[in-house]
Subunit: 291 residues, 2 copies
Amino acid sequence: MAVDFASRHPMSYASNEGIGMTPTHPFDNAIHLDTIDGNVRRGRTHPEWANQVGPFGGITAAVMLRAIETQPDRIGEPLALTVNFTAPIADGDFDISLRAARTNRTNQHWIAELSQDGAVTTTATAVFGVRRGTWASTEAHPPTAPPPEQLIPGGPSPSDFIAWGRRYDMRFVEGAFPGEHAQPKRSSMSTLWMRDSAQRPVDYPALAALCDTFYPRVFLRRGGLIPSGTTSLTTYFHADQQQLDALGGDYVLGTAHANRFSGGYFDQSAQLWTRDRALLATSHQIVYFKG
Amino acid sequence: MAVDFASRHPMSYASNEGIGMTPTHPFDNAIHLDTIDGNVRRGRTHPEWANQVGPFGGITAAVMLRAIETQPDRIGEPLALTVNFTAPIADGDFDISLRAARTNRTNQHWIAELSQDGAVTTTATAVFGVRRGTWASTEAHPPTAPPPEQLIPGGPSPSDFIAWGRRYDMRFVEGAFPGEHAQPKRSSMSTLWMRDSAQRPVDYPALAALCDTFYPRVFLRRGGLIPSGTTSLTTYFHADQQQLDALGGDYVLGTAHANRFSGGYFDQSAQLWTRDRALLATSHQIVYFKG
């Protein structure tokens, strides 16, 4: 499905907005939005970002965040984003409705809903705010890892099963994607270097997507591909724009682990680090699984 | 302010609903809601739960969750709750509007907004769902701690400063509330046993509140009371009803730590455990701070 540009005269928002170019990078295509009215943006799914059912959750998180970024009255940078995956997104167009539930002097609270044919498939809340110079400390420690250049990509990979896996160059340090004859592991921890395959610079939507690249931790514990999907995802953005600018399209070091599996659900927590030990984001999700 | 019961004929919801008693426990008072219409519940603040500004965030999280529980068409038990604290709640009445954004066969996604005089002070999303018998494993480990009976309550405590602190019996193992001449610490970790002072049995709203009892981690790192407040709080509920029934009003072992402080915000993550090493909930928040 394509948007009828002629009849709707939408304004286009993408990272190259305003210079009259068609976005060409898969990530820019995926987060490209047209303005339907002041509070509604229209996007569409892209086969490059397909998951087993519907699109990669990370790209949905990215497009929800991007929709808020396109609001002219938006204050500051993303601080927190919660995305609830309420139903599969079908191939084709979707509308994102936006509402600033509260605007304060230095922060703003958003509610966003993604719908198709009037049915809500995704809800989100986001906090944007102005970062200030304050006392600062990173208390967490990055995982130990050799530099990405010393790791060879290869072995079983999400890209063997799903289109979006090919959008990232993933180099596992620990907890690689389980292969055909994988055994259950005692730890659900994965640590890996990853970057956009086309080295598109990391902005906040890209950071939101990176936080959801960790395949479901139940795969490691059960030693195989278990039907599962993220139900709710929360990300805290620690990086300011200057840190993102310094990162560019370089590798980030990601680590993720689960805490408890029971009753058909488990939680997993992730961190994203730069080479120079800056904690870019912490992210948490609750995941549905079968069996 | 009091609700005009005579003119509105509200239905009452509280943990002793239907037996014609006035709720007497402070927690039951705080989460007591009247039905204004099918999608609106009315509650009110209570001085017992006052924080420095507005009510304790945990009691607000509890009342948001309780409001959803009172919906007759609600499916299953709480799985995930995100609460965004958008503005201080003033003393007095508040209305909570509820909407099921999506109802699936075994889960349901809710959006809730708490407002006063038409202005939104709190937004929330929640996932409720039916837990199923599946493979289960708790991968996280509880912190090492002596039994609560071997710890003496005392020393500086949140209850010296805020009313709601007296609603809990807190016995610190590590990272006690900093006193008047406290020094900055290198670790933001706190571990403590805690229970409701009146030993009210723990239900999901009480669990939601317990997850927010950890004072801001910046206090430990800076060695004093720093102006700060939770901006967004996400809790994943791992306990099923049977586990809550087994817990009753007993102590839970809580632990919390921060990951990164910068730009006027930090994140902290918490876990709540039973004596017999059941992980009841994991909880995360992003907190605003000054200085």
